[in-house]
């Protein structure tokens, strides 16, 4: 049983029940394969960095779970078929996980997700002022002159 993190992006126009149906289906696939869901976090609507399938915003969901590789294949297959899912990304975190780590992860996940969401909302209101210095170095260095 491997530990995975997954992000899926749903179309903004999709209804709430359609979204929760897909999420529930994902849970069911994991449970059926004797896996465990550590956490499911809804990051909410975000502006996409580039349009995906003509959509400018997407609904982000973040899952952490423990499952077998075949279960992951099944989840991704369902995502690929469904039009409502714009993108998904599955990342393997650990090859195996002990029972204590699992319980610790489940109780930690609420804290972690809360902290992450808090940072996210703070970040949206800020600009990115560092970019000017960084871009200057980048442009100047490309010309081959001394940069400082």
């Amino acid at each position: 049983m491997r530990r995975y993190e997954m992000i899926s992006i749903f179309r903004p126009g999709l209804g709430e029940d359609a979204v929760s149906a897909i999420v529930e289906n994902t849970r069911k696939i994991i449970e059926d394969a004797q896996g465990t869901v550590i956490s499911v976090a809804r990051w909410g609507m975000k502006k996409l960095a580039y349009p995906i399938k003509k959509e400018k915003q997407g609904l982000y969901y973040f899952y952490e779970y423990v499952a077998s590789p075949t279960a992951v294949g099944e989840i991704e297959r369902k995502f690929r078929i469904d039009d409502g899912v714009l993108k998904y990304l599955t990342v393997k975190i650990a090859d195996d996980i002990s029972a204590e780590e699992l319980e610790a992860a489940i109780s930690d996940s609420e804290k972690r997700n809360a902290a992450f969401l808090r940072d996210e909302s703070a970040e949206i209101s800020e600009a990115a002022p560092r970019r000017d210095t960084v871009a200057h170095d980048d442009e100047v260095a490309e010309e081959g002159t001394v940069s400082e």
Binding site: A49, L89, A135, V146
Partner: protein
């Protein structure tokens, strides 16, 4: 081939930000930190400019590519118009 520029000006002593500051982790979900290592156009900044060590630069590069895949960072940003 111009070897006219003295080498020392490029090889300043720069320490890797991630090696010195243990709290700073490379996470593909953290677009805010990653954006500091990406140019205005969205390109990954070379290691000799920023001064990261090789292994952290590899992790950074992989994280940026994952973040681009889930649209947290752009593949190609527009310069200010």
């Amino acid at each position: 081939m111009q070897g006219k520029q003295p080498k020392k000006l490029f090889t300043r002593k720069k320490v890797c930000r991630f090696c010195t500051d243990k709290d700073l982790t490379i996470n593909y979900k953290d677009a805010k930190t990653l954006a500091g290592f990406v140019s205005e156009r969205g390109k990954i900044i070379p290691r000799r400019i920023i001064g990261t060590c090789a292994s952290h630069q590899r992790q950074l590069s992989e994280a940026v590519k994952r973040a681009r895949h889930i649209a947290l960072l752009p593949y190609a940003g527009n310069p200010q118009e």
